[in-house]
């Protein structure tokens, strides 16, 4: 919670993630799924569905949502909120692309965990 100056960590290239797909980053406290939409937006969410722990990185990405592979809950990628009748939220992390390089905000990472 120290920093106003965000410390960005490079995690790979945008093109390492397929459009409408996701890749994982491992951290000591669990996996984070980094999603890339058809329009090249990127989003990072905890890779754990609040329903029964499904790996969201394995779901189908459509628009700016992902459908969990285990029981089809749908989450908004920018807010992490479950859509429709289901209730729940997944933690999100700031990510950005700088000249094709993906970066995740270390501050939020540390603070959340």
């Amino acid at each position: 919670m120290t920093a106003m100056t965000t410390n960005w960590i490079e995690i790979g290239l945008l093109e390492d993630i397929p459009r409408e797909g996701a890749r994982l980053i491992r951290t000591p406290s669990g996996c984070i799924a980094v999603f890339r939409t058809a329009g090249d937006e990127v989003h990072a969410l905890d890779d754990r569905c609040p329903h029964k722990g499904g790996p969201l990185s394995q779901g189908i990405v459509h628009g700016t949502s992902v459908t969990c592979p285990l029981h089809n809950w749908v989450f908004d990628l920018s807010t992490g909120l479950a859509q429709g009748a289901d209730e729940g939220q997944v933690a999100t992390y700031p990510v950005r692309v700088r000249e094709g390089v993906l970066q995740i905000a270390a501050g939020k990472l540390a603070a959340e965990r």
């Binding site: 410390n7 960590i9 995690i11 790979g12 390492d16 993630i17 397929p18 459009r19 409408e20 797909g21 890749r23 994982l24 980053i25 491992r26 951290t27 000591p28 406290s29 996996c31 980094v34 939409t37 058809a38 029964k52 722990g53 499904g54 790996p55 394995q58 779901g59 189908i60 990405v61 459509h62 628009g63 949502s65 459908t67 592979p69 285990l70 089809n72 749908v74 993906l102 270390a106 990472l109 540390a110 965990r113």
Partner: protein
Amino acid sequence: MTDKKKLVVIGAGMASGRMLETLLEAAPDAYDVTLFGAEPRGNYNRIMLSPVLAGEKSYEQIVTHDGDWYAANGIACRFGETVTRIDRNAKTVTTAAGETPYDKLVIATGSAPFIIPIAGRDLPGVRAFRDLDDVEAMVEAAARPGAKAVVIGGGLLGLEAAAALRSRGMEVVVLHLMGHLMERQLDPAAGHLLRRELEGRGITVHTQAQTKAILGNERVEAVLLDDGTVYPADLVVMAVGIRPEIRIAVDAGLDVERGIVIDDRTFTSDPDILAVGECVEHERVCYGLVAPLYTMAGVAAKTLLGEEAAFRPLETATQLKVTGVSLYSAGDFADGEDRDEIVLRDASAGIYKRLVLKDNRIIGAVLYGEAADGPWFFDHIRNRTDISDMRETLIFGQSYQGGAPLDPTAAVAALPPEAEICGCNGVCKGTIVTAIETRGLTTLDEVRAHTKASASCGTCTGLVEQLMQATLGEAFAVQAVKPVCGCTHLGHDEVRRLIRAKELKSIPAVMQELEWTSSGGCAKCRPALNYYLVCDWPDEYADDYQSRFINERVHANIQKDGTYSVVPRMWGGVTSAAELRAIADVVDKFDIPTVKVTGGQRIDMLGIRKEDLPEVWADLGKAGFVSGHAYAKGLRTVKTCVGSDWCRFGTQDSTGLGIAIEKFMWGSWTPAKVKMAVSGCPRNCAEATCKDVGVICVDSGFEIHFAGAAGLDIKGTEVLGHVATEGEVMRHIVALVQMYREQGHYLERIYKWAKRIGLDEIRRQIMDELERREAYYERFVFSQKFAQVDPWSERASGKDKHEFKPLATLELEAAQ
């Protein structure tokens, strides 16, 4: 028998077809009927040649009367025979085969396409657009890559041909003599919108085009206009108009003007000769649309039975049958001193509506872009309704009348019983409602069968459905087409049809063209679309793995804890020491927690970490294993029993046959999973009678079964048929599966598909129609070329690496 009167009919087209139907329904035994037709086939729905040309329908789908119908009604069919002479004294007609006597004669020769008398009109490659032969010739011309077509005539027929040829990939130019397209039905403004639409599809439109000559040596090469323009052409379609086909009537000395003159009872000037259809003229009018001709045909049938009936002049309305264009016109809309008009334009939505009024009555209507109100306006034209009270809101159509807008169903419910719903067949609302109520009809097909409503050109299908909804309420709602998902209002059938008709070859193209309402689809429609595209364009479509469910994307089954299970193929359930040893080694090497024999006669390894999958597959691959597709909407297992090799009851080599089937069909994608089994005798130890496809071996050969279920539903199979050899088993089941692949809705198992299509229909196509079966078979074989690649070995050698490795591993210390 012999004292039955002889009825001879010349022309097996739409008008005589309807007349015979009406006649035979009322009095099956009144006449001995002989039917002559110049075309080598019976009556079909000529109107639908446009969709056939566009590839949206097949010829089989537009046949009105098939061989069974003619046989059941005892009609002597003389198809392929042109009548060249009528001898009114001897009361005979003459064809190349000789003379045929009649007591009553009906002339129904339709019309002949008008061919402009210019040089080159007889060159090969110049066609009219009138019958199936024309369509077949055009389809053939369109098949040549880069082929060019020039369509002469920008009327209804010409534009339907142009749009259809364009959708087949031809370069198309439309030449039209007048200043705007379809000038007989449209005013200039609507003509302009239509032109813009067609140009948007890549069709060149040249108006005020005076054709001078068709050029070419051996066959057509180009078209030359008066102004010197030359358009290269491999095909020229002449669609400039039709002329009543009157030649034999003229020769016979009947009273003929533009058409064969008939009176209200459809008699010609000879009391033993009637005439119906496009070849006639009634009160100085010749008709070129089926609605009035069907009415006329009904009158002729009654006249032949000695009943009173009279044909009276009818208004006609026109609709253009080009997929994606809504256009309706009815009545008279020329400008005039005594006329008033109301116009509505919405340029951004591409909507244009114009009503022409005279003495507070609508006399003409042109609707472009949104034509749903067409029949309602048409009704007011015919009933000469005084519209003073609704003049302000008239142009907004039916739903705005009487206060709040109505939903479409309520609007149909509000129509009076005599309102016409189906223009082609002249069926009014009351007739349909009565049929639904008295006969207990619940499906669209039943309503079509009983009333003929929406059975011809089909453009009123929506209206008929709304009417069914209004009449049946909830009972119909359950029958209504279910949209694929929330992203579209289209059902699976419609989507599959349009993917083929419009040749859509990518998911974005489908979403764009079929107006998906979400930006990227959803987890329901994307896998469905991906399957349909893989199935329809096996060679061209690039499989979109991001639209596949995780199991199919990584070729293993995801488990509740995010690990995976792996099931290699064990062909027909047969394995060996070497295979078992390889599995044991893999289990040890990767610490796989559970090994289980599945219900599908093979071995499942559960709890494998995702990143280990490629290596597991590499090891299994070395022992000869390929993916068992235990995760796929595709061919799963072919269970077998030990059969004649070992079993004392076995009649055939069920194990060998099962293995052969599995080796032939593995890798294919299907709407839902497909499981098969082959049992060596009726004791059925492989449980073949609850599978999607099952074979029971018997002494005399093989009984093929299908449409069983043993999962969420339990259902014994149905028998498809009996065949004698293993080779035939293969051809039949492959064809069956291909038929299912082409028609099934995504996630619909074979038994559900079969219930929807009808068991008899499937048996007919697969068991009885050799050509069709072979065509299905060939298409399956073609698609296997692209499907039979082992996904495991591909991935073991590096494909989709990103799926199995994390992007990065972060140490938290570094982050802080």
